[in-house]
Symmetry: D2
Subunit: 133 residues, 4 copies
């Protein structure tokens, strides 16, 4: 299944070349994953913070295919390629007008304090159901 998260490209995202400055894409990917965890996994970042938990990024690979421009509304698409005991591998793409702008693969670790811990059972069950749907 695919989690869709549309984001409108605004002035604050764009560089002197008039296109999205690539680090802003990572803020958008962070937002995509934050909304995925809240809406699919049922665990918000605020809940994680309150429990000394978090999902730091351990690895990202990104291929940029085409620029994104001011005023476009990109359909960010989040898929889960692998759910480990305490990790998750996302594939994120961003579409408008039938053209994908980038493909990112990003691994997060689920931690409590500074140590990896296994996903809570109900979170794992919800994400597995999403993956199977």
């Amino acid at each position: 299944m695919i989690f869709h998260h549309p984001i409108q490209i605004e002035f604050n995202h764009c560089d002197p070349a008039g296109i999205v400055f690539f680090p802003r894409f990572y803020e958008m990917i962070s937002s995509d994953c934050e909304n995925f965890h809240a809406k699919v996994g049922g665990l918000t970042y605020a809940q994680m913070m309150a429990a000394q938990q978090g999902v730091p990024t351990v690895k990202i690979e990104t291929d940029f295919h085409a620029p994104a421009r001011l005023g476009e509304v990109l359909d960010f698409q989040v898929e889960v390629e692998r759910l480990g005991r305490s990790s998750i591998l996302f594939k994120v793409t961003a579409w408008e007008g039938g053209v994908n702008r980038f493909t990112a693969r990003m691994t997060q670790a689920f931690v409590e304090g500074l140590k990896a811990r296994s996903w809570p059972e109900e979170v794992r069950a919800r994400i597995e159901a999403f993956m199977a749907a």
Copy 2:
């Protein structure tokens, strides 16, 4: 009349104290005004760019009343306090749970090239109708 523009407070907005880092509020205010111009004035920033036009900020005054926290959805409220020949004075506030987090007054100038120019007639008419409603 009031233009409402809700923004969800996400991880990327927050500082080590767990609240919105104040410069992020200005990115949000920029977004509020950008959406106001597109939806109320009928003139997008992309259209302005294509015509060598823009709305640089010339003055802002902000009082911060209360912090905003991760996970809150703030109702940004944009009002127009004065519409000049080539300027606009916005009042922007941000509400959740009945509490306003800040009050900003921000003046933009409408320019073409680097020179002030008067608002296009249809843009002025739309903003005046908004102010009168």
Copy 3:
């Protein structure tokens, strides 16, 4: 006395009009004040965090006089206009080629937990010495 803090204008600061996007100026002002507190007051933000302290911004007024461009190195100048029991009023300007780009007046409150507290004696003494010099 004036605290000088030069910042080079880079690609990440600039907008589609090729000039500094105004919210980035507030990140720079935040950096100016952070360096002022560390180097003049002798109190770093990391030390404040560790002691549940902070200096949230309560008010800012800014007049933007002229744009700043990619590649310029601005001389940010920080002055203290008033040091209260638990507050500080900064005047910040940013110069290059004899032209000031903006004038900001910003008030911070010194807090511990969520409550205002008086400046530590040695911090107050150092800032007063700076003001008198």
Copy 4:
């Protein structure tokens, strides 16, 4: 040879967990490469903009090894792993206290208008000299 570009970790870079928010690392990497092009290649981003040129990012792979904290000064180290006809592959790492925080490999394309073009001869010569040193 290695190009060193120190960056101090400030409040504006850090997230609610008190460590650098990973998209800010990409702003820093962008700054590293911008300074590399100016100081090693002898071609500034302002000069590129004026000539309708640029160096868009086409690919990045990053492994995050350890968090970076408020107040640390990271020694960003930029190496060139491959210089193509119109591309460059950077390896960027970030060190403090003998610990590298991440390893990024990033490919930029040199473009004029929207088309790839070969590096100017003098720029190529300078970067090759850097690689050989």
